[in-house]
């Protein structure tokens, strides 16, 4: 049963990943990418890593892919023109593919005993969540902090690149606006007829 589910979900992942690069419409590409993310979350549920699966959906599908979609929809990029010369790169693509497959084979043969049946998603704990929580802030504290630092640098970089100071923009000062009383805003005048103020 688990094998059938694995076969189905893995097929969906591979097919949707193929369609990501095959689709002519860039928005369709992103939608296929979302399906690929979603199905890989299904694979993670299958091996018992439910915490990672949910995080994959929350972070990648729920936030990152939305931004992808946002950008692709807004940008007016001519993807057909962009794809014109891409066929010339196939030797590099082949090389990278071969390297990836070789690495996977190496890991698989080196680990030896790691199969679908012997894989333990939550070593030394009852659930996947507890297993991750136990090592994340202790054993891997440095790596965790490092990842956070990298993200912070990326964020600051993005802000610095896009920040522009425009001097003549009207901004709303909310506290000043809500702090306004009638006496500050209006003035009662008693104009004499024929003379004005």
């Amino acid at each position: 049963m688990a094998l059938i589910a694995f076969g189905l979900i893995a097929a969906v992942v591979i097919l949707s990943a193929l369609f990501v690069i095959a689709a002519r419409n860039p928005v369709h590409s992103v939608l296929w990418l979302i399906l690929a993310f979603f199905s890989s979350a299904g694979l993670m549920v299958l091996i018992g890593a439910e915490f990672l699966a949910m995080l994959l959906i929350v972070v990648y599908v729920g936030a990152v892919a939305v931004l992808f979609l946002f950008v692709v929809m807004m940008l007016d990029v001519d993807f057909v023109e962009l794809k014109q010369g891409s066929l010339g790169y196939w030797p590099f693509a082949l090389l990278i593919g071969v390297i990836l497959i070789a690495e996977l084979a190496l890991v698989w043969s080196a680990s030896g005993s790691l199969t679908f049946d012997t894989f333990d998603p939550s070593p030394g704990a009852e659930t996947n969540t507890e297993a991750i929580g136990a090592v994340m802030y202790t054993q891997y504290l440095l790596l965790f902090q490092l990842a956070g630092l990298i993200l912070l640098v990326a964020m600051i970089g993005a802000i610095v690149l896009t920040l522009r100071h425009r001097p003549n923009v009207k901004r709303q000062n909310v506290s000043a606006q809500t702090g306004r009383r009638r006496a500050d805003a209006t003035e009662l005048k008693d104009p004499t007829p024929g003379q004005g103020i």
């Binding site: 419409n25 939608l31 439910e50 729920g62 939305v66 969540t129």
Partner: protein, 364 residues
Amino acid sequence: MSNAIESLGSLWGPLLVLGQIGLFTLVLLLSIAFLLLLDRKIWAGVMMRKGPNVVGPFGLLQSFADFGKFLLKEIVIPAGANKFVFIFAPILTCTLAFAAWAAIPVAPGLEGGTSWVISDLNVGVLYLFAISSLGVYGIIMGGWASNSKYPFLGALRSAAQMVSYEVSIGFVIITVILMVGSMNLSDIVNNQAGGLQNWHAFSFQNFPLIVVMFPMFVIFFISALAETNRPPFDLPEAESELVAGYQVEYGSTPYLLFMLGEYLNIVLMCAMMTILFLGGWHGPVAIGANAAGSMPPLLLSLAGLFWFMLKILFLFFLFAMVKAIVPRYRYDQLMRLGWKIFLPTSLAAVLVVAGYVTYFGVQS
């Protein structure tokens, strides 16, 4: 994992799950029909109108008449629309809204310590959060596939709005997870047993935390309004600016699915607030272990279901009242509220609750 399936008999498990799914779907659809009417009636009442009152006694059958009308209309697909995505978007919205209910525990199970839920996930809270964060795709796909300006603008607004408010919802959920120490929804509900004072919104057992938790409840409520595109945050479909936002080109059954998904999401948010903050199926007064032990378990289950539905109904009433009495926000004000007020407040709350849990421990 203990769940209702095991407590009711393990032999016909899959059949039972199917039956439960059917039951949940039926009950949800029926309640949505009447909640829609309630929404319109409350809105009308605040405006001193009568509201729908023609079809059936007190207009009770109005939703069913509308349903028939939507089904019989012709589906119009605009020229230049992306046909598949156009039809797929409302289906996705509706499916996701139903899928989330698989993890909601609605009542205590027949055996002690169990709960009535289709699937008692260990990461139930995360599942709900993930499903509700997927809801944005229905809207953004529908808006894009319509090949029209207003729907597209509505979809963009909606995407930005939902992503922004998800952040503060996530932090609010983390405060509750910290207090319970589990992401299982049944554990979260059972942590609040023993009456009104133990509900997470008040949390008297960890006394000073009420200063944090009650504001968190309010933030969750307001963020839920924004997440479900309800007034005062219904900018994606602001009729004075965008006609009806992403729904402009939709009619007939696809529109019905969008509307159904929207209301299902509202009820889901009410259920989430009930589970996270208002004690789930636990009543406001504890009846004591002796009294509970002498009662038949079925009665306790039904009582739990009653309290759960009553709380959802109360929260839905609040949603409807907010729609009737609060004017719509401007888009920049909406973003300011989300990023400059809710995000820092909820982040600070996570720090405070985490510190409290670490140094004083939680009494549950």
